[in-house]
Amino acid sequence: MLNIRDLQASAGSRQILKGINLTVNPGEVHAIMGPNGSGKSTLAGVLAGRDGFKVTGGTVDFRGQDLLDLEPEQRAREGLFLAFQYPVEIPGVNNAYLLKAALNEVRKYRGEPELDAMDFMAVARERMKLLEMDDAFLNRPVNDGFSGGEKKRNEIFQLAVLEPSLAVLDETDSGLDIDALKIVATGVNALRNSDRAIVVVTHYQRLLNYIVPDFVHVLSGGRIVKSGGKELALELEDKGYSWLEPTPVAAEA
């Protein structure tokens, strides 16, 4: 599904990704862990097509297409979803309005009929239960005035409605208390299936207690320095990242 080869990217004059190789197959859950500044969020941003990064080398193939050649909206319609680390507050845009527009764009692209307001609400209500959200969420402006936990839940709710083939969760656990973390994890787990791949980007092992990955990769200094099974996350929890660092932490700062 996703095939990243020797991906290199910079922000301004700083080289951040220095040759990432990663293959993700349908049905798999991959965790990408690493210390601050290792390039985790850059990788997520480059995959989603965020401005401000320059790809300086390598390729990314997503379901047979050159992902890097696509506009952000084309990536989304092709089935890529990024759950933001910092979801953007958009006053004046109704949550339900955005989600219905988004879902219908995806459906149009897939050649499926667009949903009217009633059908959309039925889908939305069903998915909201998954995240233990109440109806009022739909009528609030997108993320505006949401607590940190509500924003993250809203991201996973969008994921549940849009049903992408590849979901990238960028630090979805940051800022969540344990109850919210469990709700979010339950939501994500309910969306696991043999056609869908999930990439969980996180600093801490905590989330991986609830979303158990098939593979764990350690990103450090812009490269994946170690890959393994779910037990690698526990090892990292135990030993920290320093034993894997290619360069001392001080040089990265």
Binding site: D51, I90, L98, V106, Q158
Partner: protein, 439 residues
């Protein structure tokens, strides 16, 4: 034509009017005074502070003439314009003259009187004498002086004490010229008695591409404990000039609101001035404008807190594209006596192109010492993070821009109390978005 020649032409037109359609007694004298004022002031130039950023040379140098009769203008032509339908009565004025055949005046609620100014001047001048020219002062205002000098027709809305009018009263002013640049000067007088409530919507519409000047003056007298909501919708022709002056005098414990929505016109100047003349009054002045191409939209507001314990709220928002420009000048005066004043002013502009520009100036003159006055102005572009977020949710860049522009503008429409006005304006706004997405 030079400005001097144009002004001389107005002198001839004025002499002609005084001869053919004289007004008796003090109303005739009011016209004379007004023309004398206009003659003395001349059209404003950019040397005047309040016109510094608004070049009206194209207005001053054009010889606008009095409109001709448009007997040929049909009900079908009117219907074809697709104007907002608000569900209440509609008084239509064609080139400044009341057009009964285009109006829908059935079912006027009990007690409410809406008449053409022409009829009132002929049959019942005493009703308007205490108000005309008293609320909209023209001593320092050339355009208002010009309007007053040519006082002839318009709308008079009288809401007697205690009457609550449920449906909005829709006044529609259509300019449809027959070739020469036309000067239309509608006049509106709203007299709301004590404890009455009324909503008045003025739509100013141009049907043709030819240049014309719509110089409108509205005077509103808000009685004690009355509520008046006034809306101005500017839908002038693309080569049209508009100068509008709305002046309100607000009584004790009353509530006055004005929303000015500018959607088209080459040069549009909207002035709104409110005097809070009784204790405990409340006033809202809001505005929204969409400008593109080479349009110029200038909003000038004045809120005069003359008495204690009055609140005022002001929010103006604009979306500018192309090489358009906008001016906002918000003056708030708090008199020595006006303790416990609470005045808030905010002006926000969204620039969609690098060539668009906005000039914004708050102007606070505070003479009392126990008051709250705040003002703020922001000028910005569409937020790149918001755009990316929407695009990452499968919306095209164009759609994402439109969603954000709509959100910015619709925030102001949310303040409009009359549902029909809000919905109609929102659908006009949605229609305009493709032309305003800054690409």
């Amino acid at each position: 034509m030079t400005q001097i020649a144009a002004e001389a032409s107005y002198a001839n037109q004025f002499a002609d009017l005084q001869k053919k359609a004289p007004l008796p007694g003090c109303l005739g004298a009011l016209r004379d005074d007004a023309f004398e004022c206009f003659d003395r002031l001349g059209f404003p130039t950019r040397r005047l502070e309040s016109w510094r950023f608004t070049n009206i040379a194209p207005i001053a140098e054009t010889n606008f003439v009095q409109p001709t009769d448009r007997q040929d203008y049909t009900r079908n032509a009117f219907n074809a314009m697709g104007l907002p339908k608000l569900g209440g009565v509609e008084f239509v004025f064609l080139n400044g003259t009341y057009a009964p055949s285009l109006s829908t005046i059935d079912g006027l609620p009990d007690g409410l009187r809406v008449r053409s100014l022409g009829e009132v001047l002929d049959n019942d001048p005493d009703t308007v004498i205490p108000h005309l020219g008293r609320i909209a002062r023209f001593e320092h205002q050339a355009f208002t002086a010009l309007n007053t000098a040519f006082l002839r027709d318009g709308a008079v809305v009288e809401v007697p004490e205690g009457i609550v009018v449920g449906e909005p009263i829709h006044l529609i002013f259509i300019t449809s010229s027959t070739g020469l640049p036309t000067l239309c000067q509608p006049r509106v007088l709203v007299i709301a008695g004590a404890t009455s409530q009324v909503q008045v919507v003025e739509s100013h519409v141009g049907t043709d591409v030819a240049s014309y000047l719509n110089n409108a003056v509205t005077e509103v007298s808000v009685g004690d404990q009355a509520t008046v909501d006034h809306y101005t919708i500017v839908l002038e022709g693309e080569s049209a000039f508009r100068v509008g002056n709305l002046q309100a005098s607000v009584g004790r414990a009353s509530n006055f609101s004005s929303h000015t929505i500018t959607l088209s016109g080459a040069i549009v100047r909207n002035e709104a001035s409110v005097v809070l003349e009784g204790e405990g009054g409340e006033c809202t002045l809001n505005g929204l404008y969409l400008a593109s191409g080479r349009q110029l939209v200038d909003n000038q507001t004045t809120i005069d807190h003359a008495r204690p314990h009055c609140d005022s709220h002001e929010l103006y928002k604009g979306v500018l594209d192309g090489q358009s420009s906008a001016v906002f000048n918000g003056k708030i005066v708090v008199r020595l006596d006006a303790q416990k004043t609470d005045a808030k002013q905010s002006n926000k502009a969204l620039l969609l192109s690098e060539d668009a520009q906005v000039t914004t100036k708050p102007q606070l003159e505070i003479f009392a010492d126990d008051v709250k006055c705040t003002h703020g102005a922001t000028v910005g572009q569409l937020d790149p993070d918001s755009l990316f977020y929407l695009r990452s949710r499968a919306l095209s860049e164009q759609q994402a821009r439109q969603v954000l522009i709509h959100a910015f503008a619709a925030d102001l429409l949310g303040h409009i109390k009359v549902g029909a006005v809000r919905q109609q304006l929102d659908s006009i706004l949605l229609d305009r978005l493709p032309m305003l997405s800054g690409s």
